[in-house]
Amino acid sequence: MKLLLFAGYLLVTVGAYLITRRIFLHFRYPLLNPVFLSTVAIIALLQATGGTLADYQPAKDAMTFLLGPATVALALPLYHNRGVLRKQALPVFAGVVAGSLATIAAVLLAGRVAGLGRGVLISLGPKSVTVPIAVEISRIAGGEPTLTAAFVVATGMIGSILGPMLLSAARVKNPVARGLALGTVSHGQGTAVALMEGETAGAMGGVAMAIAAVCTALIAPYYFPLFLR
């Protein structure tokens, strides 16, 4: 029975991905983001069938097993685009650091205006950084790691839908700029969407993800308190 459920969730997730990927590649509209559509469909299915997250967990672990090697594979587009990195080191660093500082300031200020508690605010701080680092930053700063993990995932989703729309509206067409922006704010998921835009954008997403993670980890202890009370 457990094995059947495992196989079932695996099939449903892969199936949802293949279908929504088709839809996205056909229309190329950010709101039709395959992760967003598939996630909504799978959560709806779990709720309708009385399935819980614990039931889904074994299938999830099996499916995310290759995320590590996939991230390592980002070295490939990075290597192909090493000329861009060498020639554009300043814009790349300046852009990612500025974006990281801005998104942290924005989330903490907006959270304070909305009257969120200190614990939730700190948990929101590292929301743009890849999960393993964000959780650590949150723990050290006095936040709630599981809450941070959820915010990171939500930011990945929101940024990868909203990001491409805003960039297009602001006439940011340069793939280097688009990839960096998506990776800075929406880590791996933003990088994944950047990869769908093209190889250069994808490579820059990976670069941004790495710089943003290190930068946020280094500045958090000094920068977060400026916006907390």
Binding site: S128, I133, Q189, A192
Partner: protein
């Protein structure tokens, strides 16, 4: 199907990438780096490529396959948001608005900064 014929090659190359990933994870622990293991693995692989130890062709099939389907991994991860149903019902709209605003600010600041500086230095 072309992919089926390439399957052994893809599998072997993914194994190679996985080994580098494990090395990255190990390095982070060993050197107390402020990096997640997967990002350290990515930098390590980049160094191997730049040094010529690994040729791009040796990981292109497996790496290309994983990168093509990179978004897939975020579906099972995002399903985990289900656990936060109660919090979302209570203050979901506020949190959604805050995250949307801050994500928008970050994307625009990075995108415009890079495009501005990039345009200037490449002309």
């Amino acid at each position: 199907m072309a992919m089926l014929k390439q399957l052994p090659k893809i599998a072997f190359q993914i194994l190679l990438l996985w080994l580098v990933y494990r090395c990255g994870t190990y390095l982070v622990v060993l050197l107390h780096l402020a990096l997640p293991g997967n990002v350290a693995g990515m930098l390590l692989m980049f160094a191997l490529l730049a040094a010529g130890v690994v040729k791009p062709a040796q990981i292109e099939a497996g790496g290309g396959f994983l990168l093509k389907h990179f978004v897939f991994f975020f579906i099972p991860i995002s399903v985990g948001l289900m656990a936060f149903g109660p919090l979302m019902r209570q203050s979901g709209l506020t949190l959604l608005t805050i995250i949307m605003v801050s994500a928008g600010v970050g994307v625009l600041v990075t995108g415009l900064t890079v495009q501005l500086l990039h345009g200037r230095s490449s002309r």
